[in-house]
C-alpha cells in the first residue's frame, strides 16, 4: 500500500478519537435537552469547571485563595497535601451533584413552564457565571492534569503496523496516541453504562418517561424536579469525563469552554434528541475535519479545522434539518 494512503488512514483514526471528545460534550447536551427541553449552553463550561475542580482537589489548592489573600493580606495557596486521582475524581463527582441540585433550586424551579428561549438565556447566564466563579475559585492559570492515564504514541501499534507499507515505502507504522485510545475506551464504557442504566432500572425508565411526556410521567408519580437533578448530575459526570480527557491532553485552561462549542455542529449533524446521534455526529465531525485538513488544508492554506465542522453542519441543515437520528419535526396545524 502507498504511504500516502496509509497516512490518510492514520489521520482518520486520530480524527475518530478526537471526535470522541466532541461526542462526550454533545452527549451532555442531549441528555439535558431530552429530559427538560433545555438547550444547555453551559455544558462546555461544566467540563471546564469539573476539570478545574479536579485539579484543585488533587493538588490540595485552597479554593478562593486569591480572594482570601487579597482580603486578608494572607499568603495561603495550598493545603500542602495531594489527593490520589481516584479519590479526587469521586469528590469532584460529588461537587457536580451539588452543582446539579443548585441549578435546579436556583434556576430551573423558577422557570417551569417558560419558553425554551428563556431557559436557553438562563443557561448562557449560567455559563458566564460558572466561568467567572471557576476563575475566582481556582485561578486562571493553565494547569497540567495527570490522573495517571497513559501518554504518548503506542510503540506496540507502531511496530506492528510498520510492515503495512511494504518494502521501500516511507511508512513507519501508525502513530496512535495512548491517551486518545484510553479516552475512547472510557467514553465507550460511559455510554454503555448509561444505556444499561436507562434501560434496566426504575430510575432509568423514569428518565426516559420524562423525556417522552411530562404529563404522563407526573401521573405515574415521577417528580420532574428530582429527574432534573439526576439528569444534570449525569450531565455533570459526562462533563467531568470530558474535562479529564481534554485536560490531560492540553492542560486545564479556559479555552476548553470554547472548544466545547464544537458540540453545536455535532448536534446539528446528529440531532438534538438522539444519544447515538451525539456519538456518531462527534465521530463524523472529528474524522471529517482531520481528513479535510489533511487533504485540502495544504491547498487552501490550512487552519480548516476552525470552520470545517460548521460548514458541514450548515450543509447538513439544508438537507436534513432534524439531523441524522433526530425525530422529524412535524408542525401540527
Amino acid at each position: 500500500m502507498s504511504a500516502d494512503f496509509l497516512y490518510a488512514i492514520e489521520v482518520l483514526l486520530n480524527g475518530l478519537m478526537a471526535g470522541v471528545m466532541y461526542s462526550l460534550v454533545a452527549l451532555g447536551f442531549v441528555l439535558i435537552f431530552k429530559a427538560s427541553g433545555v438547550f444547555n449552553y453551559a455544558q462546555g463550561v461544566m467540563a471546564l469547571f469539573a476539570a478545574l475542580t479536579l485539579v484543585g482537589i488533587m493538588n490540595g489548592e485552597v479554593p478562593f485563595s486569591h480572594l482570601i489573600n487579597a482580603m486578608f493580606g494572607t499568603q495561603v495557596h495550598d493545603f500542602g497535601w495531594h489527593v490520589p486521582a481516584l479519590a479526587a475524581i469521586g469528590l469532584t463527582a460529588v461537587v457536580m451533584v451539588f452543582f446539579a441540585i443548585l441549578v435546579e433550586k436556583l434556576i430551573l424551579k423558577h422557570l417551569i413552564g417558560q419558553e425554551p428561549i428563556i431557559l436557553f438565556m438562563a443557561t448562557i447566564g449560567l455559563a458566564y457565571f460558572m466561568e467567572g466563579f471557576g476563575d475566582m475559585m481556582w485561578g486562571a492559570d493553565i494547569k497540567p492534569l495527570d490522573v495517571g492515564l497513559p501518554k504518548g504514541g503506542s510503540i506496540w501499534i507502531e511496530e506492528n503496523t510498520a510492515w503495512l507499507g511494504g518494502e521501500g515505502q516511507r511508512f513507519f507504522g501508525f502513530f496512535i496516541d495512548k491517551l486518545d485510545m484510553s479516552a475512547t475506551l472510557v467514553a465507550a464504557i460511559l455510554v454503555i453504562a448509561l444505556t444499561l442504566f436507562s434501560q434496566y432500572t426504575a430510575t432509568g425508565r423514569a428518565l426516559r418517561a420524562v423525556a417522552d411526556d411530562h404529563q404522563a410521567a407526573l401521573s405515574v408519580g415521577i417528580s420532574l424536579r428530582a429527574i432534573w437533578v439526576i439528569t444534570w448530575s449525569i450531565a455533570g459526570f459526562v462533563a467531568l469525563v470530558a474535562g479529564i480527557m481534554w485536560g490531560s491532553k492540553s492542560g486545564v485552561q479556559f479555552s476548553l469552554a470554547f472548544i466545547a462549542l464544537k458540540a453545536l455542529p455535532v448536534l446539528m449533524l446528529g440531532g438534538f434528541t438522539s444519544i447515538p446521534g451525539a456519538i456518531v455526529g462527534g465521530l463524523i465531525i472529528g474524522m471529517g475535519e482531520k481528513l479535510f485538513e489533511f487533504l485540502a488544508g495544504p491547498l487552501i492554506g490550512g487552519a480548516t479545522e476552525n470552520w470545517f465542522a460548521y460548514v458541514l453542519a450548515l450543509i447538513f441543515l439544508v438537507f436534513r434539518p432534524q439531523g441524522l437520528f433526530g425525530e422529524r419535526i412535524i408542525e401540527r396545524v
Binding site: 426504575a202 432509568g204 426516559r208 411526556d213 404522563a216
Partner: protein, 268 residues
Amino acid sequence: MTSTVTPDGRTIGDVLLEVKNITLRFGGVEAIKNISFDVREGEIRAIIGPNGAGKSSMLNVINGFYHPQEGEIFFHGRKRNAMKPSQIARQGIARTFQNIALFKGMNTLDNIMTGCFTHMKTSLLEQAIWWGRAEREEYVYREKVEHIIDFLEIQAIRKTPVGALPYGLQKRVELARALAAEPKLLLLDEPMAGMNVEEKEDMCRFILDVNAEFGTTTVLIEHDMGVVMDISDRVVVLDYGRKIGDGVPDEVRSNQEVIDAYLGVAHD
C-alpha cells in the same frame, strides 16, 4: 361504617373521595362551577355530560393537574392540601388520559413498568450498580406487571413499541400502566372513546373485572350512555360546568334537566 352490598354482590364502603364546592376558572371561563360529589370505596362512579361540560377538568382537579380557585377535596376522610400531581399519584391515585399519553419511545412492558414507579423503594445508587436489592425489586415488580399483562390479555404485544399499536390497544396499555400502580382510586378519561363495539365490550369487561377482582374504586368519564348505565353504580351529570344530576343510573335517566341537556346539545 356504612357499607352496602350491590345486587351483583360487590361491597361498597365509606366515602373515599369527596370534592366540595369546587370552582375552577381559566381566565374568564368558569370550567367548573361550585361542584360537589363523593366517591365511595369500591364503586364505579361515572361522570357524564356534553362536550366542554368540564368532565376532564374535574379529573385534572382530582389528580392535581389543575388547582381549583375554590373548594376542598377530602381523600380518605382527610382534607387534602394543594399538592403536585406526582405527590397525588404517590397517594394512590392513578389515571388514563382522553388523548392517550403513553411513553412513545418505550415498548408495552416498559410503559407498564413505569406504573410501578411509586412503589419501587431502592435508592438510585443501588439501582446504578444493579445491586442485589434493586435487582430483586425489579424482578418482583416485573412479575406483578406480567400478571396485569395476562389479565388485560396483551401478552402478544409485550415487546412492541407502543407507537406502533392500534388505538384500541394503546388505550388498553394505558389502563395497564395505571393498574400497575395498584391504585386506591382509578381515574379513566373516556377509556372507550373511538373504539369499535367489540373493543368497547372488552374494555367494559376489563373495568368490571378490575373492580370485582381488586375492589378498585373507579371514576370514569364516558359518552356512550349504554355503557355508562350498564357498568356504573352512580352517575354525576355535568353541563356547562354545573352539576345537573347525581344518582344511580335509573334516577339520572329520568331526570328532566339531564334529558334536556342531552337533547339540547349535540355530542359525539
